[in-house]
Amino acid sequence: MVITKDVLLPTYDELAVEEIKLSSPALKAAATQVGKYCDDINKEFMLCRAEEKDPRRCLKEGKQVTECSLDFFRKIKKHCYRQFERHWHCVENQTPEMNPKYCRRSQAYFDHCVKEHLGQDPPVIGHFAQVRIHDSTRPKPNWQPIREYEPTPSLPEDYPKPDAAYGSRAFFYP
């Protein structure tokens, strides 16, 4: 291991969070809805990850992401359990890659229920695939170079460069 005692690692208690215990069809079926529900928090987390390049510094944001997603799924369980179950069963059973293209009917029921109870429209197709701008209050990390190297010394411009005393050593092109 390259992790020495000087590296501060979070304790197990700091890492213990209630995780989302859902299988991939359920996650995939609600992916765009939960992505829109937690849009700002998700963007904040991803920006932190991209900027800091250090998993320890984005734990708070990550916890917020998980909490928000968990909140969404709890609301779904409370209000739209039947519609969501029908939709993710369909997504699971129709195609191995969990494509929702054969599940438009159940998806429409699910979206309608989400609109009714959470007041959220389904996002347009391509909403997450486009470039989106995010304004963050978190300060930008100031990356310092690890070590400053001195410039390599070179000869002065007017240093005398006479011809070789006994001619060139090249045979064909003297």
Partner: protein, 181 residues
């Protein structure tokens, strides 16, 4: 009784051999009328002349028609292909959308797992190497692996270092799904 059976069988066999056992027997009645004999001949006036000339196939479509058909088929195919490509692009975009939307959630969970395992690895190394004099955790005895980085600088461990202290079944279960940060 056996003797009488044998004599009867013997007389029948003898009769058959005299007549010819395997040859077809002449029919019993021979009162048939003779059929009129006729020689097989060409029809009256002779056979028709054989046509030795070439008979070309009748063309069912001219060159212009064929050319126009090809042009029509090409244009129609292109248009249909465009429609299909449009549909496929939409489907791909939808799947990509779902992936991108889920990514923060999955990465947040993965980061916590990652840090937990790294901490566990460090504690395990401390436990294993506690009887070795002069050993410091994360170093080669007292020599650090990275010398120019600051103290609390984060460097992702390599996959081997990450998986080194886990059980074999755990590694086999998870390393397909694992990726570096």
């Amino acid at each position: 009784m056996l003797a009488s059976l044998w004599t009867g069988l013997r007389s029948k066999i003898l009769l058959r051999t005299q007549r010819g056992f395997f040859r077809p027997q002449r029919p019993a009645s021979s009162s048939s009328s003779p059929v009129a004999y006729q020689q097989d001949l060409p029809p009256t006036g002779g056979y028709a002349d054989y046509d030795w000339g070439r008979i070309p196939q009748k063309p069912y479509m001219g060159a212009t028609k064929q050319f126009l058909l090809v042009v029509f088929m090409t244009i129609t195919g292109k248009l249909m292909m465009e429609l299909d490509r449009k549909r496929w692009r939409g489907e791909k975009l939808e799947m990509l959308d779902a992936k991108v939307a889920l990514m923060p959630m999955l990465l947040a969970e993965r980061d916590r797992l990652y840090l937990r395992r790294i901490r566990r690895n460090r504690e395990e190394e401390e436990r294993i190497m506690k009887n070795v004099p002069g050993w410091e955790v994360g170093k080669w005895f007292d020599e650090p692996v990275y010398k120019t980085v600051p103290k609390d600088h984060w460097i992702d461990p390599t996959p081997f270092e990450y998986w080194v202290h886990c059980e074999a079944f755990e590694f086999e279960k998870w390393y397909h799904w694992w990726f570096t940060a």
